[in-house]
Every structure is written in C-alpha cells, then in structure tokens.
Symmetry: C2
Subunit: 437 residues, 2 copies
C-alpha cells in the first residue's frame, strides 16, 4: 500500500495551482481528457473486458455487470458530458456579497474551490470521469476510490485524465486513484490535507466513514421518499405520479417507498391505483384502513422505515395534512417527498413544513437529480443540512473566502471613533478576482 | 443528569414550528426577550453576583472574571443587540435559484433553518443571549452549554428567553440549557436529532468534539494569522497595520502571530517597527536575517506554528511573494492573513492564492468579525471549508431546500421524449414561500 499521508500531501500541493488556474486552462483540461479517452478507446475497452470477465467469474449480479460495462456508447456519453461541462459558466471567482465596511474599506465574498476532496463511488467506471471532471472544472484536487470490480478500467481512465492535466499545464496529482480499502481507511486519517469526503454507497458505509474520520462527510444515507395524496388531489394525476414515482426505476434513491393518502380520497383513488401498481408488478402493503379498500398485504411499523429499492410499496391513510407531514419528518430520510393536490395553500404548507432536501408539488419524486435540475451533473445527493443539500453539482464543490480591501485602516482608529462602520451594500464584483497565471 | 435523548428530541419537535413561524413572530420573541430581561434585571444581577463570588473563591483569573460580569452596562448592550437584530431582514424564505425545468415545472431553491444546533461557548453570559437570539431569528432550535463559572447567570437568562418564546407563541423548548460536561458528551451522540455542533473553545476541545460525534462540527481550531509586508509596501502603513494587528488585542483569534517581510524592504522597515513593537511591550523573535537587522530573540521552527495569544511576535524574511504564500498555507490556520503592498497585481496574487477564510489587503487582521462585516453578530468563526467560512452569522445558520412545482410531470414522459428539459433561469421568487400560521 502507498503512503496515503504522502498521496494526500501531494493532492494538497496540487490543489493550489488548480485553485489559482484560469477558467480557460481548466476547460482545456476537460477538452484534452475527451481527446485522450478517444485516442485510447481500444485500451480502455480491453481493460474493461478484463474487469467484466473477472466479475463474471466472481458471479457479479447481472445489473451490476451492466453498470460495469464501458463500451463505445458509454465513451460517447462520457465525451458528451465533458464537452457540455466546458460550456457551463466558471463556478470560481463569483462575488456573492460586497459591502463597504467604512469609506475606503470594502468587503467581498468570492467563490473558490474547497481544496482536496475524497470521493468513494460505486462500480460504474464512467462515474470516475464524471466526478474527476466536476472537480477539475471547480478547481479541486480529488482522490478517487471506485468499485474493485472496475479496477482495470479505472486505472486506465485515471491515467488518461492525469495525462490530460499534464499537457494542459495543470498538476497531474490533482486527480489520483486509490485502489484498496486499506487506502480508503488511511485516507480517512488525513484531515490535515483533505477537506471533504463524499461517500456514495450504503447507509452502513456512510456511517462507517463518519465514525472513522474527522474530515467533514457529505452523503446521503437513505432515500426513503414519500408521495402524499391530499384530499383535494386530482385522482388521475395522483395515480399517474404514484406509479411513476414507484416504478419508473425501483432501485434508485429517488423512488417512492411509502405512499400516504388522505382518508377522504382513499376510496376514490386506491382501487384504481392498486390495479395500476399490480399491473407493474408491485406488491402493496397497507394499514388496516387501506386493507378495507384493497386486498393488499399488511404493513407493519417496520415498513414505514424500510427503503425497499424493489417492487414493494407501503401505503398508509392519514386524516390530515399535519399527520402526513409528521409521518414524513419522523420516518423519512429527508431526501425527496411529494404532495399531490390542487390546493396551493395545502401545497405551500406541505412544502414549507416537510424537512427534506427536495419538496415536490404535483410531480414525480424521480426528478431529484443534478442533471435534471440543470447542474450539468452531480457528484452526489446530500440529505444532511450542512453545506450542500440535494443534488450536489459544481456549486457544492465550492466554498468562498472573504476579501477585505483597505487603505491602511486599523482597529485602533475604529475604537477611537476616527471613522465608523457604514455597511453599505456595493453590488460590485471583486476587483482582484482576475486569475493571471 | 437529564435524558439527553429526550432533551434533543424535544428540541427537534420545537424546531418544526420555529422553522415554520413568521418573521413577525420571531421578531416579537426577540422584543419580548429584551423586555423580560429588563424586568428581571435585579434577579439576573444577583445570580451573576453569586457566580462572581464563587469564581473569585475559585481564584478565576482577572480577565475571565471581567468577562463573566453581567451588570447594567452588559444588559443594555444585550438589549441593544436584540433590538438591532429585529431590524435585520429575514434570512428565511429567500429564493436563491429559480429555473424552469420544462414548461409547467419550476424549480426553486429557498433558504430555511438548519434545524437543531448545539452551541458550546465560553464564560461570557451575554454570549448566551446573543447565540439564542441569532438562532431564534433564523428559526433554529438550540441547545446551549456555557461555562460552568456562569451557571447561575445562564440559568436565569435561559429561563427569561424561554418565557419570551412562550408568550410569543413559539415553543419554549426551542432554547434549552445544558449544565454539565456529561450532558455535552451525551448530546454528541444525538445525531438523529441534532444537525450541527458549534464549539467555541480551544483547539484540543474542538478536536475532542470532532472525534466523538457523527454530527457535523463547525468551528475554528486556531487563529494563527499572518501579516506579509511586501517589498512594495508603504513603510509607514506597514508599521501601523503590523502594530495594530499584533497589539490592539493580543488575546483574540484575529491577532497577528507571525510577521513575514520581504528581504528587500526589511532594512527600511524592521528597525522602526521593532521600536514601535517594543514600546507596546511586544517580545520579538526573528530568523537569522531578521536578527542581523534588529537585536531580537531567535525564532525556531516551532514558532511558525505557535498561536501565542500574547505580547510575542515571530518575524521571518522571505525572498518572494510565493515564499510568503507557501509559508502561510503551510503554517497558517486558514483564519485571516493580510498583505501590505501598493501593487494591486501582487495583492491580487496574494488574495487569490492564500487559502484562508479572510484574505486582507492593506488593513489590520483585527477586522475579522461578524459584527464588523455587517452580519449583526456572529455565532462563531469557521476556518474549515464546508458550509460557512469566516464569521458565521444568520446566513450560516440557514440551509436551503429545493421546491419543485409541477403540473403532473412523470419521468416516464421525459424518457419517452414527450417533453424535454429547457433549464431557463426564471429570476422569480418561490410562490409558495409565504408562511401562514
């Protein structure tokens, strides 16, 4: 195993020129990555074949094998992503606050990279390129750890990215690959050099990371999403959105796991909804009121806390909006929850009271995604409250610094009342933001 | 000891009505706190006398006794702060992004409270009112732990605040006081109910918190601030700002600890600066080049990493801006660092390359403070990169949620290309933001 203290320290060193680099140079690196990946397509596919063969021998399940595949179609998709990312405005150097503190002393808050980020992701090798390119665009150095099934593909993809950084005049240590669990454990100790860990994985895995590192962690533990059908819902829309939220893709974090329905509308909606869900192969489990309306199985208290990620849905009747909100805040995972209603006041109360990263009105929960939101891509979906919440794109990979531009002001002068605070909003861009190089 | 799981759960329950409450009600609570504190002035002063007497018997050092004092002047200052906070615009319900995802489907990012915050602070009892009022204004519930010396004063202040919450129609459990270290340790386990811990205290204390909790922690460990005198500095300004940064208040986190000076300007500045520092009682320690110019003591490598919080200053010569930047990024604490120069290009390079929460040009480091920045007050100063950086005021106590307002859109329709993403910036405020009650 490599010395992770050394690896992290090199990433920190690389983070400074990356943070200071021009938008032009960072976009050039993205362009060069696309070119180098295309030039090395044959080698990448052959490395991926080795991964696939080894994984088949290890009897990796079919859906995971499918995600592991990196072929011409995937390459084209990755290159499309790299090209589109170049057109997105620079997330760095943006002035988000400007205030005159006292005449001749101006404060600017300006966006800048976080620094060094550690990302642990699943078996898709295309995720490596996506995450690395988001980090480069936002001026961050990154340590990447992918699924071990994708080892060979990840190694060659990372080599291509490092070559692109180098020929673009950026430090190749800005993107580095970790290749074992021991390296991940060692990385968690490097709080001096690493500013943020983003684990994409199971609930237990995210908690393991949090318990074993002083480094801040952004991740989502669960995706236990709800749809609440209000008594003033349009029945046809309620059925359409419930079926889409549950079945459009059952294995993702933004799929619905529990349906709440107002008791007054349940008789008019549940029988037809049940038929629609059955036809999609969904097993329905309900509380006693639900079971009086449809011939479904029994939902126990445990069901309200279960993320099935499968063709199973728990259904509960509620007697009020307040009961629905309380249930969601208590049992939910603060990911994405939707209300279906024609009443804007009821909708507003739901949206303002439900304590989740995404609160939806008359739309499927499946829309919770960084690409859908227009962020280009996402490096993860955060369900905590700190820093970034929901789909985390380029903006989530930035922080800010306060620049105070003076002309010799001392605190002693202030205390002696030679001048006083004016606190006038300036609405001006930071005059020192230009990155020279 | 109370059951902290129960205490935290009550804080969580209180956080929902607080988050949903109108600006008017939260400002009313601040007004009522001011009134109730004034009505109970005699009882507060008498509790404070008990704290002072006990602390004198325990031989608490003079400066700490001074901070512990809560008298008429402190009360007036606290009431002034409460009144001024009422005039600050509501930090909640602000739309910070609005995008049309596809016709009839609009995305809004809207500011909202973090939820439940735990703050551990030092011996000043007035800090309790300041922190509690910032939390109420921003719709957060808060668990407070002050210094044990201030126990009696804190208890009565917290009782006054709870009474004010109650008569304002807000949950009194929104502000609760912890009174022992055991309760703090127990609080750290409540990651289900507490969203953020803000420890104000020593480096070792902040690290202890980070090592013993899964809850995100925002705090600053050190304030090792630098002033760099560039070769194009104005000598008189360089001396004035260095003296102010070092001596205006030596015991605070934004005081200078290390002075860096360009070797070309050192002969013209150091002798006079040394005299000025000596006259303020500062002990100067220098590297060998410094010692050739002034008769000071020897700075060892350890000095570059030492936060003196005292009348001591380490001085080092550098041969370039780059050397100054590297020294600061390596030895600094990422709090606040200043350059003194007449050259805007040099200044820009310094401000863009130094990796600190505050980067200053021609101004004393002593300006790093939430009140100075115009935030009304601060709940702490963060030196990490995640969530808030620098002085953390009301905005640092908020997060956001994504509201997606649709008209029946399903992901299935998108996949079948019935409509596609438009991603048009709307520049519109969230139509569901109004808090009814």
């Amino acid at each position: 195993m490599r010395d992770l203290h050394q690896v992290a320290s090199e990433a920190r060193e690389a983070s400074y020129p990356l943070a200071f680099s021009s938008e032009c140079k960072r976009n050039l690196a993205l362009k060069n990555i696309a070119n180098i990946l295309a030039e090395n397509a044959a080698e990448i596919f052959s490395a991926n074949q080795a991964d696939l063969q080894r994984s088949e021998e290890n009897e990796l399940p079919g859906p995971l094998l499918h995600r592991l595949k990196f072929d011409q179609a995937k390459l084209e998709q990755v290159i499309l992503g790299l090209n589109s990312l170049q057109t997105i405005p620079d997330p760095l150097g943006k002035t988000t606050l400007s205030t005159e503190i006292t005449p001749g002393l101006d404060l600017y808050r300006v966006s800048c990279p976080i620094g060094v980020v550690g990302v642990i992701f699943e078996s898709r090798p295309d995720a490596l390129v996506q995450i690395a390119s988001l980090c480069i665009k936002s001026g961050n150095a990154v340590l990447l750890k992918g699924g071990s099934e994708a080892h060979d593909t990840n190694v060659i993809l990372c080599t291509c990215i490092q070559k692109a950084l180098q020929i673009s005049g950026l430090p190749e240590n800005g993107v580095q690959l970790l290749t074992s669990r021991e390296e991940v454990s060692a990385m968690l100790k490097e709080d001096e050099y690493i500013d943020l860990i983003i684990p994409r994985g199971s609930n237990a895995f995210v908690r393991y990371i949090m318990d074993n590192s002083r480094i801040p962690v952004l991740g989502h533990s669960d995706g236990l999403c709800h749809v609440y059908i209000d008594r003033e819902a349009d029945p046809a829309m309620a059925i359409r959105l419930s079926v889409d939220s549950k079945t459009q893709n059952v294995s993702v974090c933004n799929a619905m796991e529990t349906l709440l329905i107002h008791q007054e509308i349940a008789p008019a909606v549940l029988p037809e909804l049940y038929k629609a869900l059955l036809s999609k192969g969904v097993t329905v489990l309900g509380d006693s009121a639900v079971r009086q309306l449809i011939p479904c199985g029994t939902a126990t208290d445990e069901d309200w806390s279960t993320e099935y990620l499968d063709y199973i849905l728990s259904v509960k009747t509620v007697s009020s909006l307040q009961e629905a909100v309380s249930h969601i805040n208590h049992f939910g995972s603060h990911h994405t929850d939707a209300i279906i209603t024609q009443n804007i006041d009821t909708a507003s109360d739901f949206l303002n009271q439900v304590d989740s990263a995404g609160v939806y009105w008359n739309v499927s929960t499946r829309f919770a995604d960084g690409f859908v939101y227009g962020f280009g891509a996402e490096v993860g979906i955060a369900t905590g409250k700190i820093h970034a919440r929901g789909p985390m794109g380029l903006e989530g990979l930035t922080t800010y610094k306060y620049k105070l531009l003076g002309s010799g002001q001392t605190m002693d002068d202030i205390k002696q009342m030679k001048y006083s605070y004016t606190h006038i909003a300036l609405d001006k861009a930071d005059p020192t933001r230009i990155r020279r190089e």
